[in-house]
């Protein structure tokens, strides 16, 4: 240090020597451990100095100043003052060097953090981010290894990354994580316990990573030479904060991506569902018919269908596949196709045979994916004034005969896909002028109103009793309005499908 100071401040030491020489000294020099470092004049090595003063840092002697040719207490005092001044300069020089070193390290760390932030922009998974942060933390803090733990919300699987693999037993790292997430504080361990020593751990730093306001991840570093000091801990905390921000950003991105994908899927499901519905209402002598389906935002599996073939009875179907979204739309397509093809191509289809054959087609697939479909199939021969029907677990179906009260028609068999050999049976009812049949789906009866009450079947029965005189389209419109009013602006939870058939004069 003294040599470095002499080198950097040589001209000032030379000026000091000149001053002593002008006071009458014959030589001036700086010595260390008995050896000359510098002296003036160049020919005089001050082997027998007349005065000496040590350059001290506390009790440690860093060197000494020697002069020859002058004596006395005044000169001695002056020499001691010069030595003290040089000692103070040395101290300042040392502090400056330490500060410079700290500044360089801090700049290096800032640069590394910046590089890390930049590189993390390209990372799209939480695992990639934690892996990058862990690698950088090990590198910057000069630790022997480390780990990063992440506990996402269920049902996603927790994630543990170790560098190098197996640096600590998994159970131990998760135990550390639990402690960290409960206390929300970092853990520092600079002395190995018997447990940690057995794992080869001499020092350990474990920092919580806060994501969305709570600890969901952590960063652990193991075995840093000299332990984890305050700047090291501060740096690890900064890295953990950075990791938390990046993980939050990634989760947000993933959620937005997921939502966009779901919206696209829902839109596709809605299009599939609406495109498969008949585009026109059939004109059947002796009947007035209206049908409409309103898909919910989260599309369900409702459908209605008309099968009109020359010289064959008119057949219609209403169905509802359990579930929501694209899967429900696809299964609805299967059900509609099964019923439609049986109705169209069987030589003498009846509601019972159409249901039985459709159930045989669908049972295995429906059982595999865990769904079922309620269905109502009706058949009307022109001039018969009778409807033959089969009801596979479908509700609500309401019949209001002329001069009578509206009644709920229960199903005679379970829904399609529940039993391999369900007992479907043809039923029949009169459909003379004025008789009304309303086949709706549970989107009507299950509509939620205030206090989580449901619209229910009684309200539907009451409405059909009051509105039976209306044309089918008007009756359906009023039912939609009443259900909407009951929902008080709530979003429709399920599809609402309705077919209204009314007996009419030929």
């Amino acid at each position: 240090m003294l040599v470095a100071l002499l080198s950097s401040q040589y001209t000032r030491f030379a000026a000091l020597a000149e001053a002593w020489l002008s006071l009458g000294a014959t030589a001036f020099g700086i010595y260390q451990d008995g050896r000359p470092l510098v002296y003036w004049p160049a020919s005089h090595r001050l082997m027998r100095p007349s005065l000496m003063a040590p350059i001290l840092r506390g009790d440690e002697e860093l060197g000494e100043i020697r002069v020859t040719g002058v004596k006395g207490e005044a000169f001695q005092q002056r020499l001691r003052a010069d030595a003290a001044l040089i000692a103070y300069l040395l101290q300042l020089e040392e502090e400056l060097q330490l500060m410079t070193a700290d500044l360089v390290i801090s700049q290096d760390q800032q640069l590394a953090l910046y590089r890390l932030t930049q590189s993390m922009r390209d990372l799209v998974t939480v695992e990639e981010i934690l892996r990058a942060v862990l690698a950088e933390a090990i590198h910057m803090l000069k630790a022997q290894g480390g780990f990063a733990a992440f506990e996402p919300l269920a049902p996603d699987t927790p994630l543990l990354i170790q560098q190098p693999d197996g640096v600590l037993p998994h159970a131990f790292t998760w135990e550390l994580y639990r402690q960290c997430s409960t206390s929300e504080r970092l853990i520092i361990c600079d002395e190995a316990s018997s447990e940690t020593a057995a794992m080869g751990v001499r020092s350990l730093l474990h920092v919580p990573i806060r994501i969305r306001g709570r600890v969901m991840a952590s960063l652990g570093l193991v075995n840093r030479s000299g332990g984890f000091d305050a700047p090291g801990i501060k740096l690890a905390c900064a890295l953990a904060d950075q990791a938390g921000i990046q993980v939050e950003r990634t989760l947000l991105y993933q959620e937005m991506f997921q939502q966009t994908r779901m919206r696209a899927e829902m839109e596709l499901a809605r299009r599939v569902q609406l495109d498969l519905l008949p585009r026109t209402l059939p004109r059947i002598a002796g009947l007035e018919i209206y049908a409409e389906s309103r898909p919910a935002r989260q599309v369900g599996g409702d459908f209605y269908d008309f099968i009109v073939e020359v010289e064959r009875p008119f057949i219609f179907a209403v169905g509802d596949v359990t579930g929501k979204g694209m899967s429900a739309a696809l299964l609805m397509t299967m059900t509609r196709t099964a019923i439609h093809s049986k109705s169209q191509f069987m030589p003498f289809p009846t509601p019972e045979s159409v249901m039985r054959q459709s159930n045989e087609d669908l049972y295995n697939d429906f059982t595999r994916v865990g769904v079922f479909a309620t269905a109502f199939v009706g058949q009307y021969a022109v001039g018969s004034q009778r409807l033959v029907y089969a009801n596979a677990g479908h509700a609500p179906v309401i019949y209001r005969p002329v001069g009578g009260e509206a009644v709920l028609l229960g199903a005679e068999s379970t829904a399609l896909g529940i039993l391999p050999d369900a007992h479907f049976r043809n039923q029949s009812l009169r459909l003379a002028p004025g008789d009304v049949l309303v086949v709706a789906t549970d989107g009507f009866s299950d509509m939620c109103g205030a206090d989580d009450t449901t619209f229910g079947i009684e309200r539907l029965l009451d409405l059909v009793n009051r509105l039976h005189h209306l044309a089918p389209e008007t009756l359906a419109m009023v039912l939609f309005e009443e259900v909407d009013r009951f929902g008080q602006g709530r979003e429709q939870d399920d599809d609402q499908t309705i077919v209204v058939i009314k007996g009419a004069a030929m």
Partner: protein, 112 residues
Amino acid sequence: MDMRTYSTDEIHILEISGRFDANTVQPVATWLEQTTSTPGARVLINLTDTTFVDSTALATLVQALKRCQQMQGDLYLCGMRHPVHKIFELTRLDKSFNIFSDKDCALQAFVK
């Protein structure tokens, strides 16, 4: 919807309170999938405090019943309130499930 699960005499019991519908069905479906996948599992679902079931909830119960039967197990229902029982009647699911008036009756049926 709240669900509570416990076991007594090797019978797995699930109690569902509140609305059991498409929005709340997932934890029930997960529990039923685990429980009914065991050969010979005996499962009781207590619907005493269930105020509403929709078609998605019914499908979950049907799926669990089928799985249980495939594994030679039993799945019983008990304690249905009138509106919930009405839904089972309308869909004829009352013919597919073994339904008991209360938990004690169902537990006795397991013993027989």
